[in-house]
């Protein structure tokens, strides 16, 4: 049925995650069912066909396309090295000889007598798929990859940039309201995942790049800083391939917004442990959220008790007493508890008539908010 319900971000101490780790094209699966894998383990490998280069032999030799085969030195399927002659004419006077050389190392893919073109292909490039997270292989997808399962703590962010990485989790601030300044990033944080509080600015981002921080996690950033970091205005929230030197995950939104206490406490509780992080975000159908996964290792309390892990469950709607985050101005970023769910529609300031709920905040104040403007804090 049509129900006004905004799925929230999961922040949970214990869950079971299954990650399909698939190749984009068929290849070889290297891991076996039941294997214990680490984030950096290669679980599948494929060969991406090499780049194709086009050489218009007919034009270069000044001959008709249908004559081009008569001038070839290299035929289809033959290997060529860079600068090797692939075609030449045979003039009566040697000085007028023209040679066509290969711009690449590879092989001759095809020759066309219609266009006079020769297509050369570079050698294939290996493509490896890593496990990304410490866990166990629970499913094999022949020729395509595996599914890795892990019992872990999980924090979903709202937006991120940059791809998958991993490292030791460190807290750079001691409270979720604090700003993460550039001076708080230390050389010892190289290759680590650094969590801050309410905000970090462009100077902190630059410093992170200098040091070689693996990833940053923070409540909010300014859009203008993101634009400076990327070098362009991000148009749609489909990310994950950016190359800015580190992965960035924001947990609350744009602006200075204290990280939710539950998120901050969870991260702080796992400081020093290895975590996997991805900034990949897709806010469209088929939503992908950025995430921080902290696998429960053999040293963790309750480790090995997979049966006690709580898999993510489907929610059916918002209920009284649920914790929610307000996700639109004027109370953007505030976190409170649902205290009423009136069934009747209400007219709000804009004159729109919408379904609302009442949220009560920690300071005892309450506000009537459109249901579309809150997000359940799941987990």
């Amino acid at each position: 049925m049509g129900h006004a319900y905004t799925p929230g971000l999961t922040v949970t101490e214990r869950t079971v995650i299954r990650k399909p780790r698939l190749l984009p094209i068929p290849g070889t699966v290297l891991a076996k069912a039941g294997d214990r894998v680490r984030a950096e383990t290669v679980v599948a490998r494929a060969e991406l066909p090499g780049k194709v280069h086009v050489v218009n032999v007919a034009n270069l030799l000044g001959v008709a396309p249908d004559e081009v085969r008569d001038y070839l030195v290299k035929k289809e399927g033959e290997a060529v090295s860079q600068d090797e002659v692939i075609a030449e004419n045979r003039p009566f006077i040697k000085w007028f000889k023209t040679e066509v050389r290969s711009p690449i190392r590879g092989k001759v893919e095809s020759v066309s007598t219609i266009t006079g073109q020769m297509l050369l292909r570079e050698p294939p490039r290996p493509l490896e798929r890593l496990a990304y997270v410490d866990g166990a292989v629970v499913d094999l997808h022949p020729a395509h990859g595996v599914t890795v399962e892990t019992s872990c703590s999980m924090v979903q962010g709202i937006f991120g940039i940059g791809g998958e990485t991993w490292g030791e989790l460190v807290m750079a601030v001691d409270s979720p309201e604090k700003t993460l300044s550039a001076s708080q990033l230390l050389p010892t944080m190289q290759n680590k995942i650094v969590a801050g509080g309410a905000f970090l600015g462009i100077e902190t981002m630059k410093r992170a790049r200098e040091i070689g921080v693996a990833a940053l996690v923070v409540g909010g950033i300014h859009d203008k800083d993101l634009r400076e970091l990327l070098g362009y205005d991000l148009g749609v929230a489909i990310t994950g391939t950016e190359q800015v030197g580190f992965t960035l995950v924001i947990t609350e939104g744009f602006g200075t917004i204290p990280m939710a206490a539950k998120t901050f406490e969870l991260l702080a509780g796992h400081a020093g442990q290895k975590a996997s992080i991805s900034g990949a975000t897709q806010i469209r159908a088929g939503v992908i959220r950025p995430e921080i996964l902290i696998p429960w290792t053999t040293g963790s309390p309750d480790a090995g008790s997979a049966g006690r892990a709580v898999p993510a469950t489907e929610r059916s709607g918002i209920r009284i007493d649920d914790h929610v985050r307000v996700i639109r101005d004027p109370l953007f970023g505030r976190i409170g508890r649902v205290t009423a769910l009136p069934t009747e529609l209400r007219q709000i300031e804009t004159e729109s008539v919408v379904r609302v709920l009442v949220v009560t905040f920690a300071d005892g104040t309450s506000a009537v908010i459109p249901r579309a403007n809150v997000e359940l804090m799941e987990g």
Binding site: M1, G2, T6, I25, P26, P49, K51, V52, H53, V54, P65, E109, S110, S112, I114, T115, Q117, L119, R121, H144, I158, F159, H222, D223, K224, L226, Y232, D233, L234, G235, V236, A237, G253, F254, G255, T281, I283, R284, A285, G286, V287, E314, I327, R328, D329, P330, F332, I348, E349, T350, E351, S352, V354, I369, P370, A372, N373, E375
Partner: protein, 615 residues
Amino acid sequence: MTGSAQPSRQMTAAQPLRVIIATDCGSTTTKAILIEKLGNEYRQTFRGEAPTTVEAPFEDVTRGVLNSLAELEELSGRKILDGERIITPNRAAQGEPRVGVDIYISTSSAGGGLQMMVAGAVQSMTGESAQRCALGAGAIVMDVLASNDGRLPHEKIERIRSLRPDMILLSGGTDGGTVTHVVEMAEYISAAEPRPRLGISYQLPLIYAGNKDARDRITEILGGKTSLVITDNIRPVLERENLGPARTKIHDLFLEHVMAQAPGYKKLLEWTGAPIMPTPAAVGLIMETIAKKENLNLIGVDIGGATTDVFSVFGGVFNRTVSANLGLSYSVSNVLAEAGLASILRWVPFTIEEQTLRNRIKNKMIRPTTIPQTLDELQIEQAIAREALRLALAHHASLATGLKGVQQERTISDIFEQKTSGESLIDMLQLDLIVGSGGILSHAPRRVQAMLMMVDAYEPLGVTRLSVDSIFMMPHLGVLSTVDEQAATDVFVRDCMIYLGTCVAPIGRGKDGERCADYTITFGEGRSPECGTLAFGDLRLFPLGRDDRAQIELRPAKQVDLGEGKGVSVTRDVRGGEVGLLLDGRGRPLQLPTDSQKRLAALIRWHRAVGLYPK
């Protein structure tokens, strides 16, 4: 699911339709409507909706369809489902008037709609024809490749390889002309070994609609690597486009390949009594049908969260474009990137810091389902909407053109009537009707807000009528028009269209307060005429109800044109709507004061003049 095929397709030919259900499976919501024959006319009576279930964890589109139909059952009291089977036909004849429906039909844009790559020999000729063909068939065009598109061959090949379209349309060359360029494009496609977006085990569909003399060669190059379909050339001679056969093939392949790969669609295809259409193709069809029936020139826009579709029919020629990254939620930040901050800020009637506005827009991008809660948030969203509408129309106008670089030829059926070579077909002075659709327009708290957003964005010239789609049922009606045109037009006129009124906008510029035109408005019986002077910078609104008509006589200043030439008086019959008759003396082209304080004052004055926002 019991897996019950519905025999409705055969049944429709046998008996007239009295009860119809239609769904549109959108990327986020599946919307169902119930249409019933009441007396001699068809009316849309109830609607239901449910989240679309193409994605995990459901991965079966029929779950969302059944949920939306269940809501329709609850609201209407009609029994539509027997378990998970749609009851057809309706059982009125068996003494059960509230049981069953006669036909179920559907459109779909779930899972990102139909995504295509097109290729032609010359960018401005067969490249554009291929693009128009794919867009008209309801596709999003991911890229247009051409021999002269400025990219090096290896760049083209990399691009083809990195895209994962649902299908490719390859055209190029006139029949009997050179085959070299189109064969070259085929060689690039072959080298790239493109893979389809959905499904890893089937070959990518490729339609060849180019020079017929190259067919053997194309088959040789692409036959083994793609699921090749050959059809008539979309540009058999330079002077003529022939888009129909290729469009038909696109629809066929959409059903046979793309839909068949999407989760649950095989089942859905069995349920429907007419082929499932891509949503934009269905919207285009109903607009084209209405424009032809009423002999109108119209522009239709559907502004969504991710994309904005623009449709136009001018002189009987239909065009559609989709601006894939202009929208008000998922793509809101892209409107900012394309329009620039200053263009958005010029419509905002208060001052706001750049950083605050930028952060708010990004927050809407990452929480796309939120709604404006305060008046200033609403005003910001409506400012962004003006820019998205403006940019999408500019994009449309650049593609809705006559054929480029050729002599004119007038023909019938499915081809372009050309004016001057390559000229845009969009002529705002000849425009009769603007139809707006999408939440920001259809659900604006005050109807006048929808009207002014479209007037500000499109700057209609002369006399133009405006309307909005009440609950976005144009996709449903488009597919219905393929089964029963009368039912579709009945519902379109009576339930779908909400007429807002008429905008009268003189062309010309002048200083604020200077005379633009004198007017006399004569209403129906019992209402006194309105006479006065419209000054430059004025916006005036006269109530004129949906069923009311009036006559307006305008006597413009000597530099002002109302469509008949500068200084020439005109008299026009105008029709009303929920907003009324709007006289727009702000000049054309519309320019806002550059001085910030003067701009704010002008905006506030205009907003008050038409009662745009609460006080």
